[in-house]
């Protein structure tokens, strides 16, 4: 074990800090001090958090230098736990609990409790490196930018801008994510994406198309108010451990917990009812539950009448899902389905939590919409303790999604239409025609859609952008350069084909604090670069946690080694490509670092759709300084300078910062005025469909001057309502001809809210999404299924010629029966110690020690059938030929016929240990096979999410 800290001798031991008599003490301080005398106690639940001690002078074992305590936010998952870092002489010497922080109250999981290692870790990518003749060679930043830049410019010249793929990251802060999307636009491509595509894209699409916004509706803290909690396809005890603190608070107040999962997870171990379903049958099970709801008349009839469209069509589909049929398809017996339904129906409000188990399917968008429909039927939406609490993955995946690091939209979900580009061109103050000229000219589609208006290739399919025949791709040429900017490749399927794709590229670039599996899983000898980015603790900025709260994260230490913040690297490339001045026209650049606060202010100016406009850097910093002022259930500041505001101003935080909107803690909650965080369902899908009214009927937010549904606000609507004169002269000038999304003055939003109305209208949520392949969510068997008897009745989709620019197979794969050679269903998931692709966490010895082997969980029956003992090495092979050599963990956690693998490992490839391929000293402590080498083809019908939660395999002993 290396010594992480230079241990200095301290001649004079420090005195314990004593309180002076006059000093007011809070309860926390009291408890701390009393531990010396009367005795103290840690882990005080439910205490009003108090201020964490400010910077103080204190001598420690490490140094006599002053200790500064810096407030930051954990960079692992989306809970957004507060962190207190102790720094001396620029060295991260201590980590203290952030008892004040409203989300975690000082708590952490294994990952959060080991964050300080970031300041000391040696297994980092330290310098820019270049692969030359199969050897890593250290080069300068200048050489790296010049060589990579020149190659990209030559590819751009020959094959067009779409042949360079910019893969961004949920690890970027908001400012970097925003700049990254803008950067890709200036390069002239929509071939830009990030982790949201492969974690919750089906959630965002499904949920936004149901009621307006595709995000968590309530918050982790609001779960305190739930009387029932349903978790499906999620294992928060491992993926979001601190959320369990909030779930347990509800449980201890009597809430019932139902966990539905193919695997008896650590979350299930704490449930009142655990229901085991066959992977990939979520819609069938949810409709089976709704069958009981309708049969017993448990639906909320007045809620449905006032605020829901299309429930009758759901009833028709649900009627087919009798208890017998549900058991046949899902494997869940009627009494369990009934009991789960009864628990939810009799204990309202109830919240509905889901994660990747629901989203990562060819039918992911059907699953997420079915979950929403269930909550609508029970009237659980827009209320405290209810909602769809969708736990996002990475710390800033919500922010990176909101800021449009996606191949199908610009920041703020504006899409890629001409109007969207014109809106952002105005915000950016650049010429629209110039922007358009940056893209390939002509059209890739049968119609005449310009390239800039055409969806790019999603990250889940980038390998097909390289490997597919050029004539079959709806773009000028294949992908020739790939930039992995903060993204692990092992979270994507079809690992063997990915290796081939990586080798076929002309240029492969990794920009990351770690080399990642990209550096070692291919056998290139040249044309590859690794550029060291620093972590979020080595820079600063805002991030958006799962509950839509925006938090400000301070810099803890300076960038280590030769690493640089992402936005500095973006600036270097922009300068090389000649558009740095245009890209940062209204952003101060200090040396080569664009000013973070100016970037925040710039997206504040354009993000009207989702209310990313009110959270100015000044307000965000004030919220950070007053962590302890916010109620830990409601998140509302009680007294003090931020009185009435919600922590982190959860979006939508309407209007300009000057308007001081408090943020919206619970989406669609009509019990509050919009000005105080209330909301209606968004009028996003028109005012009527097939003759039926889509606007709300008799339901409106508190204090609304329109006592019924209404469409989204436009300048004309203000005039019709006689509210136009409420705008100032300047606002009128800016608002003329515009709507609530495009009025850059914010006047339309301000006036709508002044009259108690939601700027985006007041409509019904819809159960039927007529623009989707399956308007009413239906069950379809996975592409690879052992249940051949169900394929005819529940077939997958027809193959598609062009979907996100690529031919996409469904029926042609499902047509072939692989179930004899590959009889086991396989699924995947997380371990608490690791995150994402795992390079960062497997390089942290405090975490790596706890999980040293990649493994597969299999049931004793399946193990005995194959003569496999616990701890044996086995080969697991998928139907497309990818295979992994891993350790067997024999356990009843999985049912007979189902196996589970974690997805955080990399470094071994089909039996080969490739540690030797890492640049010296940058290999993670723990390596292992990536489960996605065995995982297979299959993409969601709306978002191209990859199907990583159900495929099939066979397992044999490894001799």
């Amino acid at each position: 074990m290396m010594k992480l800290i230079k241990r200095q001798s301290t001649p004079n031991a420090a005195e314990p800090k004593q309180a002076s008599a006059a000093e007011a003490i809070d309860r926390r301080t009291f408890l701390r001090r009393s531990s010396l005398t009367a005795g103290g106690v840690a882990a005080a639940i439910g205490l009003a958090p108090s201020m964490v001690k400010k910077t103080e002078a204190r001598e420690t074992e490490h140094s006599t230098a002053e200790v500064s305590r810096i407030r930051s936010v954990c960079s692992h998952c989306s809970v957004g736990c507060g962190v207190v870092a102790e720094v001396q002489d620029g060295v991260w010497t201590g980590q203290e609990p952030a008892f004040d922080h409203p989300f975690n109250l000082g708590s952490h999981c294994a990952k959060g409790a080991s964050l300080r290692e970031h300041g000391h870790g040696e297994r980092r990518l330290k310098y820019p490196m270049k692969l030359e003749g199969g050897k890593w060679k250290k080069i300068s930043w200048e050489q790296a930018i010049n060589e990579v830049g020149d190659k990209m410019l030559s590819i751009r010249e020959q094959a067009g801008p779409d042949s360079v793929y910019w893969l961004g990251s949920a690890k970027h802060n908001n400012e970097q994510a925003y700049l990254f999307r803008k950067f890709a636009a200036f390069w002239g491509t929509n071939n830009v994406d990030h982790q949201a595509r492969i974690c919750h894209s089906t959630t965002v699409a499904g949920v936004a198309n149901t009621w307006g916004y595709g995000a968590m509706t309530n918050s982790y803290n609001d779960i305190h108010n739930s009387k029932s909690i349903l978790v499906i396809g999620g294992n928060p005890a491992e993926a979001h451990p601190v959320s369990l603190q909030h779930i347990f608070r509800a449980k201890e107040r009597g809430a019932k917990i139902v966990v539905i999962d193919p695997r008896f997870t650590r979350t299930a171990a704490h449930a009142d009812l655990y229901v085991r379903l066959r992977p990939g049958t979520d819609v069938a099970l949810i409709w089976g539950m709704l069958w009981h709801v309708f049969k017993n008349g448990w639906e909320d009839k007045s809620f449905i009448e006032q605020r829901v469209y299309g429930m009758d069509e759901i009833r028709t589909e649900v009627a087919k899902w009798t208890p017998d049929e549900v058991e046949k398809v899902t494997g869940v017996p009627e009494e369990q389905v009934y009991e789960a339904t009864r628990m939810m129906a009799e204990n309202r409000p109830g919240t509905f939590i889901w994660c990747m188990g629901g989203t990562q399917h060819t039918t992911g968008n059907n699953n997420t919409r079915a979950y929403c429909v269930f909550q609508l039927a029970l009237g659980n939406m827009g209320v405290e303790g209810g909602g769809t609490n969708i736990f996002r993955g990475h710390d800033n995946v919500q922010g990176a999604t909101d800021l449009g690091v996606l191949s199908h939209t610009l920041p703020g979900y504006y899409g890629l239409t001409e109007g969207a580009w014109k809106h952002w061109a105005r915000v950016w103050d650049v010429d629209y025609e110039w922007l358009k000229g940056r893209f390939d000219q002509g059209s890739y589609e049968d119609g005449d859609a310009a390239v800039m208006n055409t969806n790019g290739i999603p990250v889940s399919r980038w390998i097909d952008g390289v490997l597919e025949d050029k004539d079959n791709i709806a773009q000028k040429d294949n992908l020739k350069a790939m930039v992995f900017w903060g993204h692990a490749p092992n979270s994507q399927t079809r690992g063997t084909e990915m290796k081939t794709a990586m080798e076929k590229l002309e240029l492969l670039v990794v920009i990351d604090p770690y080399p990642t599996a990209t550096a070692i899983m291919q056998d290139r000898t040249d044309g590859m670069y690794l550029l060291p980015a620093c972590t979020q603790f080595e820079t600063y900025g805002s991030l958006t946690s799962s509950n839509r709260s925006m938090q400000w994260r301070n810099k803890v230490i300076d960038p280590l080694f030769e690493s640089l913040p992402d936005h500095v690297i973006m600036y270097k490339f922009a300068k090389k490509f000649g558009f740095a001045d245009e890209l940062l026209k209204h952003v101060q650049v200090n040396g080569e670092e664009p000013l973070i606060e100016d970037l925040t202010r710039e997206f504040n100016k354009g993000m009207w759709t989702i209310g990313y406009t009110g959270q100015s850097p000044e307000r965000l910093k004030a919220h950070q300084e007053h962590w302890g002022h916010f109620n830990t259930t409601t998140l509302k500041a009680e007294g003090g300078p931020l009185d009435g505001e919600y922590y982190g101003m959860p979006w939508p935080c309407w209007g300009t910062a000057e308007m001081k909107h408090p943020g919206t803690p619970i989406l669609y909650d009509t019990n509050k005025p919009v000005a105080e965080g209330g909301l209606t369902f968004r009028a996003r899908f028109g005012v009527e469909h097939d003759g039926a009214n889509l606007l709300a009927e008799g339901s409106y937010s508190k204090g609304s001057e329109i006592d019924d549904g209404y469409p989204e606000f436009t300048a004309d609507m203000l005039k019709q309502l006689g509210w136009w004169e409420d705008l100032s002269a300047e606002e009128q000038q800016a608002a003329e001809g515009k709507n609530w999304k495009t009025d850059l003055s914010g006047g339309i939003q301000r006036v709508a809210i002044k009259h108690g109305c939601a700027p985006f209208g007041n409509a019904k949520a819809r159960c039927v999404v007529w623009t989707f392949p399956d308007p009413v969510p239906i069950h379809r068997e996975p592409l690879y299924t052992p249940r051949r008897d169900l394929v005819e009745k529940y077939p997958t989709y027809e193959d598609r010629k062009s979907f996100y620019r690529l031919p996409t197979r469904y029926a042609s794969i499902q047509a072939k029966d692989y179930s004899q050679e590959y009889p086991l269903i396989m699924t995947s998931g997380r371990l608490v110690e690791y995150e994402g692709g795992g390079e960062e966490t497997r390089s942290n010895p405090w975490l790596a020690e706890l999980q040293q082997h990649m493994f597969v969980e299999l049931n004793p029956a399946d193990a005995n059938d194959r003569n496999i003992r616990d701890g044996d090495m086995v080969w697991l092979e998928g139907p497309e030929g990818g295979k992994v050599k891993i350790m067997a963990m024999v356990t009843r956690r999985v049912a007979a016929g189902v196996v589970f693998m974690p997805f955080h490992f990399a470094g071994h490839f089909q039996g080969e240990d490739r540690r030797y391929k890492y640049p010296e000293g940058s290999d993670p402590y723990v390596l292992g096979e990536s489960c996605n080498v065995a995982f297979t083809y299959g993409y969601d019908s709306v978002t191209a999410m990859q199907e990583t939660k159900v495929s099939i395999c066979n397992i044999t002993p490894a001799a």
């Binding site: 074990m1 800290i5 001798s9 301290t10 031991a13 420090a14 314990p16 800090k17 408890l31 701390r32 009393s34 531990s35 010396l36 005398t37 005795g39 103290g40 106690v41 840690a42 882990a43 639940i45 204190r58 001598e59 420690t60 074992e61 490490h62 980590q95 203290e96 609990p97 008892f99 109250l105 000082g106 708590s107 999981c109 294994a110 959060g112 409790a113 080991s114 964050l115 300080r116 290692e117 005890a237 491992e238 451990p241 601190v242 369990l244 603190q245 347990f248 201890e252 008896f264 650590r266 171990a269 608490v832 010895p845 405090w846 020690e849 706890l850 356990t891 009843r892 956690r893 999985v894």
Partner: protein, 194 residues
């Protein structure tokens, strides 16, 4: 005087291992030595429970009773500490301890034992408080600066509690009352047959 105790509420422990890495972080405990670990009962089956275990700082500590060089001592706060200068690494305390708390660093390829290491309740050792020698041998001394063990302070679900035994008991009692049932701490069923 306070008598320091740990209590792990198994209704809340989710085996997230925050206590384990918090300890590693605070004391820079080397790979292979675990002052605290999480034990799982009935892994993967109904009734699965986990419990975080470290030195329980026993009142009548078996480790101290068997130690041939008498290196153990109990502080005024009821924390059981030991003197590494006296320890001979014999391993008797490991036999005696009901919790498997004593740990030994691997000091050579032949597995010879180094001096025993264990949880100090974040209270250092016999060296001067906050001295380099104390840090080198025993890790941080949080108690001396008015803080409690970091494992409990950082527990994800506030399952692991640490502090004066009476206060810990009060807190736990309050929780159990709120749950409205009998004490469902792990082991109750074994001891009292449901």
């Amino acid at each position: 005087m306070a008598k320091m105790k740990f209590l792990c509420d198994t209704e809340r422990c989710i085996e997230c291992n925050a206590c384990v890495t918090a300890c590693k972080n605070e004391h820079e405990v080397p790979w292979g030595v675990n002052r605290r670990r999480v034990v799982t009962i009935d892994d993967g089956e109904p009734g699965e429970r986990t419990i975080s275990v470290a030195c329980m700082h026993c009142t009548d500590a078996p480790c101290a009773a068997v130690c041939p060089v008498d290196c153990f001592y109990t502080t005024e706060d009821g924390v059981v500490l030991h003197n590494k200068d006296l320890c001979i690494g014999c391993g008797y305390c490991f036999y005696a301890c009901p919790f498997g708390a004593p740990q030994y660093p691997q000091t050579s390829e032949y597995g010879a034992r180094g001096k025993m290491d264990k949880c100090t309740f974040c209270a250092g050792g016999p060296e001067e408080d906050h001295s380099a020698a104390e840090w080198e041998k025993y890790g941080k001394n949080r108690l001396a600066e008015g803080s409690l063990p970091l494992c409990a302070e950082m527990c994800s679900t506030k399952a692991l509690m640490a502090g004066d035994g009476n206060l810990v008991a009060d807190l736990y009692r309050e929780r159990v009352t709120r749950r409205g049932g009998r004490a469902d701490v792990w082991g109750w069923g074994t001891a009292y047959k449901g």
